[in-house]
Symmetry: C2
Subunit: 246 residues, 2 copies
DNA sequence: CGAATCCTTGAACACCTTCAACAGGGGTGG
DNA sequence: CCACCCCTGTTGAAGGTGTTCAAGGATTCG
């Protein structure tokens, strides 16, 4: 993530939707060039976030959705007790902040994990645009559906899977997402520390660490701090999905 | 749920959105009567499901969203191994099937837990309607936001909470939802077996059973099979949210 | 009445967490 | 340039929370 996005970050800054390499993944998918032009006019493209900088925090007013252009974000829910649950890591082309739509107030927070470009989509304008662009609602709903399906997969992970299955699922899903974005699915750098992975997967940091060690011992992958090289994608997938082998 | 909805089920069947008591919770909220009339024309209102009957199954084409009118549903994700994770229980006024919007195919299944009336909202028509009803997108996004926020709350529950906190959260949330719908928040009948509660909360059936017993011993509530009477709502809420008391 | 389903309770066990200590990089300042 | 420190990650041992296994009780329905 770190490596790949540092390149794209500079090259993609302030690129219009029309020329953005993420078009196929993001909102413009399925719109014609006239429609994309219209969309382009309401998209705010100016925000470059430094690592650790917030896009929004729980409680803030929610008047925009956000799409990741380059880099990566994490969104998390804070509890009164001070602990937090990471909800998702967001890669380029993914939508953010849907939870704030109910009453125009964010319920979670989102922060950059590295230098990150985001596009801002004012909700009010998006709504109005639906009148002009008949195909926009479909694309919006498509991205929403993706987000919801992702959340559902996480509910399954947290509700039913063992620690090993969780980490395998996490890694395998990451592979797929990188591949989808044109990066290597076999080797990549994690942009988050072990703590964040553990938090996301509902585990202790130590458990994640032990599992990485074990995966490496079993020849599944090579891990050196944040750098991951997958040797056996098939076996990783098999570990991720509680097999019906029995 | 069972008791209350059996009444409403008969009285609300085939009622138009305009006259539906759920208007404030459901999609028509915030639309004027002209707009609701237009919406009414595309809503299919004919489906009455028996207990155990499916609204849709994973893999089915997804061409409609659904709103619960009376009764209750559960949605669940199946694994290849044959186990399933319950994603949510759906009460009147709640939206269903968002996960299928990404590629017009349902990724989860939804089944009635009792006799249940549902309204069907054809996606294609909804999309078109966005051109005619400028305020529709907002309401659609509002319901979507609610769904996403609910899922996020579940991720927190499954990722961070103890078994006791999970059950307390589940019950407290149910209280709030019943109250919101004009039913008693202190006494109600669960429409799902212990197995389903346990599955939903990522626990074993036995754990849920033991916790119900313990809650009763502590005077928090009275439980008799599916019938629940809450005696101390405040303490229930306190148990639900890992308190910052420390 | 009998069968099936649902729920409860007890005891042993397993998985993961917690606590604790240490190792290794990477950056900063001398 | 090296020494130091902090942050991140790893590893070991003990302990706890919830699961699994097993059996029995309760309610409903044919």
């Amino acid at each position: 993530m770190a490596e790949a996005s540092r390149v794209s970050e500079s090259s993609r800054a302030n690129v219009s939707c029309k020329d953005c390499a993420l078009g196929g993944l993001c909102l413009p998918h399925g719109l014609d060039s006239t429609e994309i032009d219209r969309l382009d006019r309401v998209v705010l493209r100016h925000r470059l976030l430094a690592r650790g900088e917030h896009v929004f925090r729980a409680g803030d007013g929610c008047f925009s959705l956000y799409a990741v252009r380059s880099g990566s974000l994490k969104s998390y829910l804070s509890t009164e007790a001070g602990s937090e649950q990471i909800l998702d890591f967001h890669l380029p082309g993914e939508l953010l902040a849907l939870d704030g739509l109910e009453d125009e107030r964010h319920t979670c927070s989102a922060v950059a994990m590295e230098a990150t470009h985001i596009c801002e989509l004012p909700v009010f304008q998006l709504e109005n645009m639906c009148q002009l662009l008949p195909r926009l609602p479909r694309q919006l709903l498509r991205l929403i559906g993706r987000e919801v399906a992702t959340d559902h997969a996480m509910l399954l992970l947290l509700g039913k899977k063992s620690a090993m299955e969780r980490l395998a699922t996490f890694l395998f899903t990451l592979c797929a997402r990188f591949k989808q974005r044109g990066f290597s699915e076999r080797e990549f750098n994690l942009s988050m520390p072990r703590d964040d992975i553990a938090n996301y997967l509902g585990l202790a940091r130590e458990t994640v660490s032990r599992l990485f060690t074990r995966f490496q011992e079993e020849g599944l992958l090579t891990v050196q701090r944040r750098n991951i090289r997958i040797h056996d994608l098939d076996r990783l997938q098999a570990l991720a999905n509680p097999c019906t082998d029995a």
